[in-house]
Amino acid sequence: MSAEVEEASPEYVPITVEFSGGLEMLFSNERKLSLSIPRRDKDGQKANVAFLIDYLCQDCLKDPRKDLFVLDGSVRPGILVLINDADWELEGEEKYELQDNDNILFVSTLHGG
């Protein structure tokens, strides 16, 4: 499990990750995670949302149905990714570099009525 450091650190970016619309079921029914993500990936690049998605799959997604979250290396169709309450397409999508205290929300679209 990741360390739950709150304050800024030279090595880790503290962020909040949330799941909604049923996605929380894949993450042990946790709706909100406080995570500290390495600031750099193994190639020394700054951690971005693509890196976070990998990280979540490896460290947080215990459910065997990983393909309900990612498909072909990307977030599955029907899942909105929101960076600080804005559609990630407004922020650079997977290439957005994580900042301290960012909030990343993954929402599954609902279709019922």
Partner: protein, 302 residues
């Protein structure tokens, strides 16, 4: 029919007085509501409360389309229906309740499923559409038709303890009009995998959750109509509010969250400059919504 030149009748001042006196509506807004026509697609958990408040507010014409009949399992949340009307079509059952609430509204019954073959001809007579359906294939079909016809779309959905609300294609500029509001395909270019779609029958639904979303659809509709949707489309001004997704979670804290959405997607198959969703493609059936959404039971899902 030329637009009415005279203000309201006496009984209308009485009935709508409480909303008329607010600057946000006013006499002008009330007249716009009266001259407007809206289509409610789906008369279930979303459509029932949405219809009740739109009919209450005096929208001139309210169309209702649904192919289902009332079942007992609907009644915990579909508040226009009743135990005695189990087995009646949802459209007819709703009309009983709505006409007793406000006999001045012109209610139009479409007791059928919306299909790619029928959607253009049914929706073209209305000023605005409410998506109160329960499956992805319908949602893409309704959005595509709204873009083709230039109608704003008030879309909501709910499942279990959560709900989502968006006002789409507002302003409803033609495909390629970059300042138009995003459509459903701009937000969700690819449909969800069929096996991930959970219906209210499978997943459950809490009545006031879907009820809240339906009432909010009525509110957004009244906001768009009373501002004057036709003027908005004609003069090409941008929407007074940037597009948002309102998320509701009954057990969340806070319960509501507002998300900023992107604008139109230039490459959108429906509203983009090189749109492939055309009236001809729609009517010919070459756009297979059910297949697109991965379902095996095509139009039945609509």
């Amino acid at each position: 029919v030329p637009p009415r030149r005279w203000p309201l009748e006496n009984s209308e001042y009485k009935r709508y007085g409480r909303q008329l006196i607010m600057p946000e509506i006013g006499l002008q807004g009330q007249l716009r509501l009266k001259q407007a026509s809206v289509l409610i697609v789906g008369v279930g958990g979303l459509g029932c409360p949405a219809a009740a408040y739109l009919v209450g507010a005096g929208v001139g014409t309210v169309g209702l389309i649904d192919g289902d009949v009332v079942e007992e399992s609907n009644l915990h949340r579909q508040i226009l229906h009743s135990t005695a009307r189990v087995g009646m079509t949802k459209v007819d059952s709703a009309i009983v309740a709505l006409s007793s609430l406000n006999p001045n509204v012109n209610l139009v019954a479409h007791p059928a499923r919306l299909t790619p073959e029928s959607s253009l001809s049914i929706m073209q007579d209305y000023d605005l559409v409410l998506d109160c359906t329960d499956n992805p294939a319908s949602r893409y079909l309704i959005s595509d038709t709204c873009v083709l016809l230039g109608k704003p779309l008030v879309s909501a959905s709910a499942l279990r303890t959560e709900g989502q609300l968006m006002v789409l294609n507002n302003p409803p500029l033609p495909p390629g009009g970059a300042n138009g509001g995003p459509c459903y395909r701009c937000i969700f270019p690819k449909p969800p995998a069929f096996e991930t779609v959970v219906s209210c029958g499978e997943g459950g639904i809490l009545g006031p959750v879907v009820g809240t979303m339906g009432v909010l659809q009525a509110l957004e509709t009244i906001k768009v109509l009373s501002r004057g949707v036709k003027g908005l489309a004609a003069n090409g001004t941008t929407s007074p509010e940037p597009p948002t997704l309102t998320m509701f979670s009954a057990y969340g804290s806070p319960m509501f969250r507002t998300i900023r959405l992107r604008g139109r997607r230039q490459t959108c198959a429906s509203c983009g400059a090189k749109a492939t969703v055309t009236p001809e493609a729609l009517k010919s059936g070459s756009l297979d919504y059910a297949l697109f959404c991965g379902s095996v039971a095509p139009v039945d899902a609509l």
